[in-house]
Every structure is written in C-alpha cells, then in structure tokens.
Amino acid sequence: MGTQRVVIVGASHASAQLCVSLRRDGWDGEILLIGDEPSLPYHRPPLSKTFLAGTTTIEDLHIRKPEFYEKEQVAFRHARVTRISREARTVTLDDGEELGYDKLVLCLGARPRPLSIPGMELAGVHYLRDAADITAIRDSLAGASRAVIVGAGYIGLEAAASLRKLGVEVTVLEVAERVLQRVTAPAVSAFYDRVHREEGVDLRLGVGVLALEGEDQVTSVRLTDDDHIAADLVIVGVGVLPNVELAQDAGLAVDNGIVVDAHGRTDDPDIFAAGDCANHYDARYDRRLRLECVSNAVEHAKSVAGAICGKDKPISALPWFWSDQYDLKLQIAGLSTGYDTVVLRGDPAAGRAFACFYFADGRLVAADCVNNAKEFMFSKRAIAEGLSPDRSMLADPGTPLASLLQASTSPTG
C-alpha cells in the first residue's frame, strides 16, 4: 500500500462513492473515513419513504456492505472532526486525537434548517435527516394518532404519505401558497395538492406556525391565524443548511456551501468538498450550484476521486432526483430554475400519471415525470444532449418519444 493518506470526513453518499472511485482510479494509499454517525454510509432517501413506515433496519440501507470497505482497505472511524489545521495537515477529533492527511475530502452534508419557535424542545417534535431521527420518530409514533408536518417540500410530503399509510391523521402546514413551490411548476403543485387531499391529508397553505404547545409532550400546534391543531407528533421539514463551519473555520471560501471548482477542489489544493455541503461551478448551467440530491453527491465524488488520482473528470452529469408518495413515483431530470415555458404530456388534473417538461429559450431543461419512467429516461437523454424537441408533438401522448429523439434539433446543430 502507498504511504499517502486520504481522509474523508462524513460517512455519506458522496463518501461511499469516493471510496469506490478512488480505488478504481488507482489510489493505492490509505483511505480513512471518519463519520459522526455510528453507521457506515447508508441510503438517506428511504428514511422518509419505505423506512419510516416499514420495519427495515439501517443495515438494510447500507450503500455498500461492510465487506466492501474491508476488501478495499477503507478504515472507518466513528468520531466527529472538530478542526482542520491546514498548516500541519491534520484533523482534530472530538476526543482530542489529531490525524494527518495528505488529501482531505469534506463530505459533511447538510442539517435541517432550525425552526425558531417556542416548544421545539418538547417530546414528540422531530426533524427528519438521519437514522437517529427515524428511530425517535418511530418511538413517538407508538400510540400517536395525530401528526402535524411543518413544510410541504419533498420530505414533508413524503413523510405525510408514509404516515397516512400507517393510518395516522396528518395535517401539513405550509407558509407558501402552494406545495413544492420552490421546486415545481404550478400544475405539478396542484397535482400533489389534489392527491394529498384525496389521501385524507388536511393541507393548509399560506399559514405559519407560531408555537408548539404542551407540558413535556407536544399536544397542539398554534398557527399564525390563531387556530390550534391537536398533535402528538410534529415533524419539521423546512429545508436544510449546508455544513460549512469546519471549512469556514479553516479559512476556506464559503458561499452557500463550500466553494469548489469543477473538480470539487477548494482554494486549498489538498482539500476537496463533495455533496450537499459543496457549491460547484457547473459548465452546463454556466453558474455556481449547490444541490441536495444523491446524483449530485455521486457525481461530485467521481470528480474528486479523479482529481486526487490525477485524472481529469470535471463535474458534468445531469442532476436528477426522485420522490415516492403513495402510489406515485416522481422522477425529475435536470434543473427547472429559469424556465419560461412548460409543456404537459398527460393530464395532471385527473388520474395519477403525467409529465411536465420545462423549457428555457426553446431548449428542454428539466422534466417532472409522475409514474412515467419512460418520459423521465427520455428527458435525461434529451437534456443531456441539449435537444429542443417539438413542443406540440411532445404534448401529444400519441407521439412516440423515440421519434422525438431523432427529430429534435440541437441548438448548435
């Protein structure tokens, strides 16, 4: 084994991929993975989906089995890193130990955005980010019959669907005027609004939370319109904040995430960042991006591994995302920010399958596909290739998608 050491901080999606890609790209030195959660990297998306409602254990969610790390000679250390010393090239652990690195990769992820209202300390009030949160939610669920979810983003809506499946009464509160406002077109929001109401969710829009009330255990939620809702379980899902403090304290550039170049490198050539905590320059969108999805974490990790091993693999894959609620499988390709036109294929106002395509300057930039995996895969390909499929043909469910891949014009061609 080589004598150099890569230290990875955070046992995460990005770091699991990093271990794979480093070995594949020829890193023969040490790999030390340090994480403050007790487990090896696990899949986070199921936490609000199958895991919340189910009986699976965290071991079932491991991204790679423990044998993989053994075989690839990756050492895992359960500890929190409290400091980086760039001069000494060391990281300090919470027990005081200092460990040297040659290359350091920060896969610190993000944490729930805190809600600063009275009553957040009450029993029965939870955020939803990691396995420990789920264990606590499952405990609170025993005997609970009424849940309030604060925030109608993907995580809030997924949690609502999972709890409905368990027979819990669910109220979802959202300050914005529509669900998923930050991420989707009005037609898609209206679709999810309808389905959640059809499934029995009490959805309240344009309303905020003033306080959580109860003795030790939460019993009710006070709203900005002065209404009260009884609750024995509250889940707060109002977005996340990137974990940047470690980098910031070490003097690295931070601006909505740890600032990295197209290879995941910070302004220190030996320090990299990947995943939710990293803000990278993206050539496709010609701007800086900080994304919160698995595909982004995986792509970052591949680029960082390449950079560490002297291979040029700039961040380039198209971001994509998915969300499961009830019998709905939503798959999203690309980023819809900056769109000027949407095209619908299928009818979101009836039934449970359709696709919403986002165009900017005539070019397809993103698609939300509900129970339409084929439309999703079509979009992944068409967006990656920079195609501008004919909009009226795309809107016609009778048009075979394959024909649109051939007939589409690319703006440069």
Binding site: R24, I63, F68, Q331, K380, R381
Partner: protein, 106 residues
C-alpha cells in the same frame, strides 16, 4: 454459493460470489464491479444498473417487467435481454450466470 459473472463492455470479466436473495446490483456494487452504480439503492428509479443477460440464460432469469422496460427502453444500448440488475434477485439456479454491461449507464 455459486458464481455470477459480470462482463464489462471492453470484455473484462468479474466473477462474484452468488449470495441468495441479494440483487445482482447489490452483488456488483459490494464487489466493486465497475459500471454498475445503483444510485437509487434498488428502487428502479435511476437506471444506473442496466445489464444485458447472456442469451443462454434469459429463459432462467426471465425477461424484464414493464417497469424495467420503461426505464431501459430509452437507452441507446437497450437490447432484448436488457434488465435492471436491481430487479434481478440472485438464487441458486443462477449459478454460472453471465451478464454484460453496456458501455454507458444513463
């Protein structure tokens, strides 16, 4: 026990131990087979676990489901025996199975 062989697009082959009940995607990722990422963890949501089953084996593995077809059909490398390896569970009858990897996952 048994063996499943993954053949990369350039012909490099990887023999992995068959573990009853695990999906081929899990076997590939646990054993570091390049070219199978399994980003969604086996939810049939990402399409990064596409494999093409050797002709001799397709009767034993069975052909793909509609859900898999939807995911794979748009790949330029879609073949009649294409499957999502996360939807293909290893079992003792599959000892000796060979699957081929496409050049690119989508």
């Amino acid at each position: 026990m048994g063996t499943i062989t993954f053949v990369e697009h350039d012909g490099t082959s990887h023999d992995v131990d068959l573990v009853d009940g695990e999906s081929l995607m899990e076997l590939a990722t646990s054993n570091g087979v390049p070219g199978i990422d399994g980003d969604c963890g086996g939810e049939a949501a990402c399409g990064t676990c596409h494999v093409i089953v050797d002709d001799a084996w397709i009767a034993t593995t069975g052909t793909r489901s509609d859900e898999e077809t939807q995911m794979i059909e748009m790949s330029p490398e879609c073949a009649p025996n294409s499957r999502l390896s996360c939807q293909l569970k290893a079992r003792s009858e599959l000892d000796g199975l060979r699957v081929h990897l496409p050049e690119f996952q989508m």
